[in-house]
């Protein structure tokens, strides 16, 4: 059976180069070439390729955000001119990290690693999960068949729900498979983790209500409620200075 691959790359010569290098490997079939993140998410989730050649700086959403929206765990070969993600990319299914420009020998090495990973493939393999070092400015979610980009200033609060988080905005809530812990230090200064299951945007807070002795709840401007733990209360107190 042939191995299915998809190229995610917005520059024409770079696409041509990958096609050319891959054409030497007759067991690999390029199903699609996508030049932006939106098209790529759709194409990848539809055709479920085994290998993704993924540029990180692509239009609409980044390659990193793209991976968050993929339903399964393909093997990923990153291709990029940026090396700031390199340290964290060698995880589980990230077969390799090709820095542009790369030679055919270097490319073949990456292919061999990817094939090794595919041969030893089992469902235990987790997703490529890149630890971000920089703060993020938005969260990308998949809502049915559309992709939503939610800027941080539109987010009221996050709520953890098993393996998922709910992202609450004024336009409604969005579901994303992710942990709340990951976001604790990635968001802007406006966000505080008030509870094991909650991160709140202080700009949407209306007031703090006392439920019983030493037990509080946050009331947001749209009347929704956010839980506050003891340590969360301390954080709020120091941040808002009351």
């Amino acid at each position: 059976m042939k191995i299915k691959a998809i190229i995610v790359e917005d520059e024409i010569p770079a696409q041509d180069l990958l096609k050319h290098y891959i054409s030497k490997h007759q067991n690999i079939d390029v199903l699609d070439i996508c030049n932006d993140g939106f098209k790529a998410v759709k194409s990848i989730n539809n055709t479920k390729p085994d290998i993704i050649f993924l540029d990180i700086q692509i239009p609409k959403i980044t390659g990193i955000e793209l991976l968050e929206l993929i339903d399964y765990n393909p093997v990923v070969i990153f291709t990029t001119a940026y090396d700031k993600y390199a340290i964290n990319a060698f995880e589980q299914n990230a077969a390799d990290y090709l820095l542009k420009p790369f030679s055919e020998e270097r490319f073949n090495k990456a292919i061999n690693k990817a094939l090794d990973l595919l041969n030893n493939y089992n469902n235990e393999n987790s997703k490529v999960n890149i630890e971000l070092e920089e703060k993020i400015t938005r969260i990308v979610v998949k809502n049915n068949n559309t992709i939503e980009i939610i800027p941080l200033d539109k987010i009221m609060y996050l709520e953890a729900q098993d393996d998922y988080i709910y992202i609450y905005t004024e336009k409604g809530r969005f579901l994303k498979k992710d942990t709340i812990k990951k976001y604790e230090n990635l968001l802007s200064e406006s966000f505080i983790r008030t509870h094991r299951s909650y991160i709140v945007n202080i700009n949407f807070i209306d007031k703090l209500e006392l439920l019983s002795k030493e037990s509080y709840v946050i009331l947001l401007k749209d009347k929704s409620k956010v839980k506050v733990s003891k340590s969360g209360y301390k954080l709020l107190k120091s941040k808002l200075g009351f």
Binding site: D10, I12, D16, P59, A81, Y82, K100, P101
Partner: protein, 353 residues
């Protein structure tokens, strides 16, 4: 070696005139109050004061190169007492012996002996005045030097700041271009060659910055076109560029490498982040006092991953501030779909910073 009276001939003239006046006054006093013969009075005071003038001239060196700022307060006092004693002693010794040699009049010799105390006091007084005057000179010169150094330092700081703000070539642009060339060597060698030449010319232009802070607008635009030729190879004909340049603008001097980073910014935010058909337009218009450069591009606020204006634009603004002070304008206008930068620069045809 600097000497306030020697290095400037006008000061030397004044120094001698002042001493001549003192000598004349001295002679008048001797003639009127002590009843000395006029010719004796004149010889006496001119010889005495001329010797003082010569010794006083030399005093500068003990102050400038021996004492000033090097000794503690107590030591300099001792130093001055010693030099005053030596100087005044020398003065009296030389003048008395010379005068006794010149004039053998008995009346005068008596006067010479009697006036010793007066000469001593006036010697010390003039010594003090001279020292004070020299101190003033040294002090004034130090202030002047300090201001000069400060100005020099400020200029250096400004130069360094300008240097650091000058656009460095974006390494990612370079790596991506090399990747494109790598691809073209397989599919279209002629195009690969062309791209190598274009990239080289672009790099050569970007590193020749040491020549001058300014360049003509026409050369800046030429460089931008080379840059865009390379980007078109990467992104294909989805990337479009138009320009409207008034003829008169061609020879206007603008800060070197000011246009390219603005265009690179436009490329990044248009096709780089939307992946859709993109149009970048550049216009340069001249009015009586200024040159207005406008850059327009489509973009989508939703797709931008960074907040605010970005480092690139901030650097350009800081650089313009250093070059023009408050004498320029940089307006950024954006809605959700278009991004517009308008820069108004004063007309400048010389090459000073």
């Amino acid at each position: 070696m600097y000497h306030p009276f020697y290095s400037n001939k006008t000061y030397l003239k004044y120094y001698l005139i002042v001493w001549a006046i003192i000598a004349v006054l001295n002679a008048i006093v001797e003639y009127k109050a002590y009843g000395l013969d006029i010719q004796f009075a004149l010889i006496d005071s001119f010889v005495f004061n001329f010797i003082f003038a010569v010794l006083g001239f030399g005093l500068w060196y003990t102050i400038r190169y021996g004492v000033f700022g090097k000794l503690s307060f107590a030591s300099s006092i001792v130093n001055y007492i010693v030099s005053a004693t030596v100087l005044v002693g020398l003065l009296l010794f030389i003048s008395n012996n010379l005068l006794a040699l010149f004039i053998s009049n008995e009346n005068y010799i008596t006067f010479l002996d009697k006036s010793l105390l007066f000469r001593l006091i006036s010697g010390v007084l003039f010594f003090t005045l001279l020292v004070l005057f020299y101190y003033l000179v040294v002090y004034y010169r130090n202030i002047q030097e300090k201001t000069k150094n400060e100005n020099k330092l400020n200029l250096l700081i400004k130069e360094a700041e300008l240097k650091s703000l000058k656009t460095q070539i974006n390494p990612h642009f370079l790596f991506n271009s090399l990747n494109s060339i790598n691809a073209l060597t397989i599919s279209d060698t002629e195009k690969a060659q062309q791209m190598i030449f274009k990239l080289s010319e672009f790099l050569r232009y970007s590193v020749r910055s040491h020549k001058s802070e300014f360049n003509t607008l026409s050369e800046e635009i030429e460089n931008v076109e080379k840059y865009l030729d390379i980007e078109v190879v990467r992104f294909g004909d989805k990337l479009k560029f138009t320009k409207i340049i008034e003829k008169e603008c061609a020879d206007i001097k603008v800060p070197f490498l000011i246009l390219q980073p603005l265009i690179e910014n436009a490329v990044k935010y248009s096709i780089g982040q939307t992946g859709e058909e993109s149009l970048i337009s550049l216009s340069c218009i001249l009015d009586s006092k200024s040159c207005v450069i406008t850059i327009n591009n489509n973009y989508n606020k939703l797709y931008t991953t960074d907040t605010g204006e970005g480092v690139g634009l901030n650097n350009i603004k800081k650089r313009l501030e250093l070059i023009y002070g408050t004498n320029f304008k940089m307006d950024i206008n954006s809605d959700n779909k278009t991004f517009n930068i308008k820069i108004t620069l004063p007309l400048k045809t010389n090459t000073e910073i």
